[in-house]
Amino acid sequence: MNTSSYELPSWLLSGPPLDELTAALRDVYEFFAASGADVSDFIARVIRTAHPELAGLQPDLDDAFAIDAETEINECYRKLRALAASPDGAEYSDTLSRLRALQEDEARRLSSVFRSNVDLDLLAFETTLARADALLATHEDPPKHD
């Protein structure tokens, strides 16, 4: 099922009460979950539209953009701006190193979250492709049934 093409109704923008929205979404989820469809993106989009303040409920945002780390990163930026007149000083250099270390940590975390959300395993695909080609090679002249 492709939920991405679903236009969201404009009444969502008025921020319907959370209990009503939750009940409606539970029905949607249960209806489609029975068919095995993944509607998590759709539900996240509905929630963000109706209640932007709840954006953190979306798992990849919640996991990826750690507020504490960002606060510390921004603090480093502030310090670097304050020290901009003396970029050769030890304090500037230490702050820049600290900033890079924090960003590298965040980049690793983002990479991990991205990989868990976007599961494109090229190696596994190539292995399956090779298996397919080997099978097809042995079935080039398939025996006919009676």
């Binding site: 963000r48 990849d60 399956t128 397919a132 079935h139």
Partner: protein
């Protein structure tokens, strides 16, 4: 095998514009946050500085996430009278915005921050892998101010390249094999049939995942504004240099 709606998706790597980004929106004066819809279309749903697209940050729509914002080329703290000037407003990601803070347009050495609407990025930066290397003093000041190669941004660029390259390969090579495997299964001995069908099923799983991933990278996101303050003059198109690089995913 049908797995995609026709759509335009981002290139695996956004090449730098050889001309400045021409403004096509001209909303009536208002408070700067009301320009957001215009700015999203104006800059192709991408940060004008680091060129990361909304889809690089999050799937399913950026609104409500706070990951992009309206940046002022001349900071509000330096020129409050320009706060609501549309031409002083630029679409930027939270990372570029946070890196700049209120850094002045011109530093003590006389270096000036580049404006993507008056400077062509390709004239001032060179792509080096997933980084943007500055080519002159102003570019150096701009790169440092917006921290264009913040490791997080580099990681976002790398992630897109990997996902689009892998996804396209799966879509290019998978469907034909699935059809052949199923054809072979029809004619195969019963004891061989299961393995042929199972392999076709496995490949189909890769194809569906690839289609879903590529759809994430559509240039016009699902939550793209359907109107803006320009009213009837609403320009519903990304900048030409971006559209020219987009990949057409045909119905297949």
């Amino acid at each position: 095998m049908r797995c995609l709606q026709p759509m335009k998706i981002l290139p695996s790597t956004t090449e730098l514009s050889t001309t400045p980004i021409a403004r096509r929106h001209s909303p009536p004066a208002g408070k700067f946050p009301t320009y957001r819809a215009c700015l999203r279309w104006e800059f192709g749903f991408s940060c004008a500085f680091c060129l990361l697209h909304e889809a690089d940050f999050v799937a399913g729509g950026i609104d409500g996430t706070g990951l992009t914002s309206v940046e002022h080329q001349i900071p509000r703290s330096h020129a409050p009278q320009l706060e609501d000037e549309y031409d002083n407003c630029i679409y930027a990601c939270r990372f570029c915005n946070g890196a700049r803070g209120d850094t002045p347009n011109v530093d003590v050495a006389g270096r000036t921050l580049l404006d993507p609407c008056t400077s062509a990025w390709a004239s001032h930066f060179k792509r080096e892998g997933f980084s943007l290397a500055p080519l002159g003093d102003d570019a150096e000041y701009t790169a440092r101010t917006y921290d264009l190669d913040d490791p997080r941004k580099v990681e976002f660029r790398r992630a897109r390249t990997g996902a689009i390259t892998s996804g396209l390969r799966m879509l290019r090579e998978g469907p034909e094999r699935v059809v052949k495997l199923l054809d072979a299964a029809v004619n195969a001995r019963e004891q061989d049939r299961d393995v042929l069908v199972a392999t076709a099923h496995d490949l189909r799983g890769f194809i569906l995942t690839a289609a879903k991933t590529l759809a994430r990278y559509r240039i016009v996101p699902l939550d793209a504004p359907v109107s803006c303050r320009c009213g009837a003059a609403f320009v519903r198109e990304a900048p030409r240099f971006m559209v020219a690089q987009c990949l057409d995913l045909e119905d297949r």
